[in-house]
């Protein structure tokens, strides 16, 4: 116990002194800058309020992104130019081909399932009594880390040799239905889809909750009016409700695409990218921190960035429209 204290008390003092220092610096800055009067007051306030964020963004995101772009044309140690070699490697290496195929599968399958399932449940939740209990249980996995979720599903996908007890739920169900359980994580291409289930399991609640809010926000009189006009069931949904929540549905899809593209934790924890389950984000990490090749890693990061740019442009466009309307 005393060992524990001697190790951990310094940790906590470092936290509290860091937080304390942070607020003291802020308070001093506010006090000094707050005394400025007249013409200089506004620019000084602007600098104090905005500069910390801008400096951190510049040092932490913008400059590093530019350097990553440059590194992608350099050798593993980033000290000599190699032209397009790293990109050429991507088009030639058979492993990278399988990684690309998997990544594309992820961004096609995962967002559609997450959004469709979320929408279906959101519609149904609107119809039932006591919706808060199922809603929070369906939403709960969002609070669990991908690593935690992976371990939860490691037990679901567990496989034992024939003759031993199957302690995995999936193996037991297959066994019960008369099938033969197998080592699921080794069976391609099924394993990639089993990993996707973990992702959908954690993220479906996100789509469900925001779509549910959007459905509730559809004005009642519009629904009432079209119901009086004889619209019902599917037609009412297709012509009235869905167009009004379409924006939210696209947000859910786009979030799914970005999330699926960056999926790293699940693949790393479940298979380490082996057995043909590798994806871009995991390969990027492996290239940099296992192979120590910053060039290839950077080039993979650039591909990741290029894949999100369509969504980036779409987001900026819709924010522009939204702002010009208000």
């Amino acid at each position: 116990m005393s060992d524990f204290l001697s190790v951990n008390i310094p940790k906590f003092t470092s936290v509290f002194s860091a937080i304390g220092m942070f607020f003291i610096v802020l308070a001093v800055l506010f006090a000094i800058a707050g005394r400025a009067n007249g013409k200089k007051a506004r620019p000084i306030a602007l600098v104090i309020f905005l500069a910390p964020a801008l400096i951190l963004l510049l040092a932490g995101l913008i400059i590093p992104a530019i350097r990553t772009f440059l590194f992608s044309f350099m050798n593993p140690d980033s000290n000599a130019w190699v032209g397009f070699d790293n990109y050429k490697w991507m088009t030639e290496d058979p492993n990278v081909k399988s990684i690309m195929v998997n990544t594309i599968l992820w961004i096609l399958v995962v967002p559609i399932f997450t959004a469709a399932l979320g929408l279906l449940l959101a519609i149904m939740l609107d119809r039932i009594k006591h919706e808060s209990i199922p809603k929070s249980l369906l939403f709960m996995p969002m609070a669990i880390s991908f690593v935690g979720a992976s371990i939860i599903f490691k037990f679901v996908y567990e496989y034992s040799e024939p003759g031993e007890a199957q302690i995995g739920l999936l193996s037991s169900i297959v066994d019960f239905l008369g099938g033969t359980p197998k080592d699921w994580m080794l069976s391609k291409p099924l394993n990639t889809f089993l990993l996707m289930i973990i992702y959908v399991w954690t993220q479906m609640g996100f789509g469900m909750v925001i779509l549910s809010a959007a459905i509730k926000a559809v004005p009642a009189d519009i629904v009432e009016a079209s119901a009086l006009d004889g619209a019902s069931g599917w037609r009412l949904f297709r012509n009235i409700t869905f167009p009004m929540i379409k924006g939210t549905f696209i947000v859910v899809l786009a979030t799914g695409v970005v999330g699926a593209l960056k999926v790293f934790d699940i693949v790393r924890t479940m298979t380490g990218g082996n057995f043909s389950t590798n994806v871009l984000a995991n390969e990027m990490y492996s290239q940099v921190f296992v192979q120590f090749d910053q060039g290839k890693g950077s080039a993979l990061a650039i591909v990741l960035f290029l894949l999100v740019t369509p969504i980036l442009i779409y987001n900026i466009r819709s924010l522009r429209m939204e702002r010009s309307h208000s």
Binding site: G34, L50, L138, S150, K262, T269, M284, A301, L304, L312
Partner: protein, 307 residues
């Protein structure tokens, strides 16, 4: 509320009958909850029972024990976890608190500046920060790590010294703070920009400067928004793996519990008690936060996604 009334009075509106909906929702809920339940039950089983008996059988044949938790938390028999997960648990707290507070404070200030201090280029900066939101972390990992370990140079001139914080707590707080800013500034801007203009103008007429307006008016009114985003950031940092693997070495001194858990996965057989109890200890904190502050959590989610 009125929505609900119409649904009840007008069966024609329904896409699904409420009976089918009830059944589907509850069946899905059960399916969705079973995996977590399985882990919870497994974590209370004795080491030798885990592999011999499925957890759903154990439910009806209970001989549960807290031994896994005891050995995982405080350490004991196994080599991979001689001191238990407690040090890593402490690290997680030590990492998460500043990595939540710093970006939220800095983002609130920036959001205020972008919303209420008029200056040229304000719109451009806002759009730029908004765009940064979905730029993958992977774009900055390598250069940022190099900056921490080696500083920045142009040619042979050092423009920025090595920070020497790689592998230190500060070396994890800083990247988390940087990476959190775009989303936090965007969400807080939405929130702060919607505060009533009259209030700000009245304060300025009364002679309050921006610092006073920020402290006395904006902060108190923005508390619900700040709380929602802080909960998000807290969960994000607690659950993060990529930043932890990149910027914290895997050691007991700094590694957070989530990354330790990920490293335990490689071990088979006897590792199962550690894995199940360790996983539950790791997810307990986010689950407690989630269930006790769900209202704020949902509000934060909606602020970002629904106009």
């Amino acid at each position: 509320m009125s929505n609900l009334k119409i649904a009840n009075h007008n069966p024609g509106r329904k896409l699904f009958s409420s009976k089918i909906a009830t059944v589907v929702v509850w069946v899905t809920t059960v399916i969705w909850t079973i995996p977590t339940l399985g882990l919870l039950v497994t974590s209370f089983k004795a080491d030798k029972d885990i592999l011999n008996e499925p957890w759903w059988v154990s439910l009806f044949n209970p001989h549960f024990t807290l031994s896994s938790y005891k050995s995982v938390f405080f350490g004991g028999d196994t080599e991979s976890l001689s001191n238990g997960v407690l040090p890593y648990f402490v690290n997680s707290i030590v990492i998460t608190l500043p990595a939540t507070i710093f970006p939220i404070v800095i983002a609130t200030m920036a959001a205020y500046a972008l919303a209420w201090i008029r200056f040229r280029g304000s719109d451009f900066i806002f759009f730029f920060i908004f765009a940064l939101q979905i730029v993958p972390l992977q774009m900055s990992l390598i250069p940022l790590l190099l900056l921490f370990t080696g500083g920045a140079h142009i040619g042979s001139v050092t423009v920025f010294p090595a920070l020497g914080i790689a592998g230190d707590f500060a070396g994890i707080w800083l990247p988390h703070t940087m990476f959190a800013l775009p989303l936090a500034i965007y969400l807080l801007h939405n929130f702060i920009a919607s505060l009533p203009r009259d209030l700000m103008e009245a304060a300025h007429v009364d002679g309050a400067n921006h610092f006073k307006v920020f402290r006395m008016i904006v902060l108190p009114l923005a508390v619900p928004g700040i709380a929602a985003i802080a909960i998000f950031q807290f969960l994000w940092v607690w659950n993060d793996l990529l930043v932890a693997l990149t910027f914290a070495s895997g050691t007991e001194e700094v590694a957070p519990i989530n990354s330790k858990l990920a490293s335990l996965v490689g071990q088979y057989g006897s590792g199962y008690t550690q894995l199940s109890a360790g996983a539950f200890i790791t997810i307990a904190v986010p689950l407690i936060v989630f269930f006790s502050l769900q209202r704020y959590f949902v509000r934060g989610l909606l602020a970002g996604s629904v106009k």
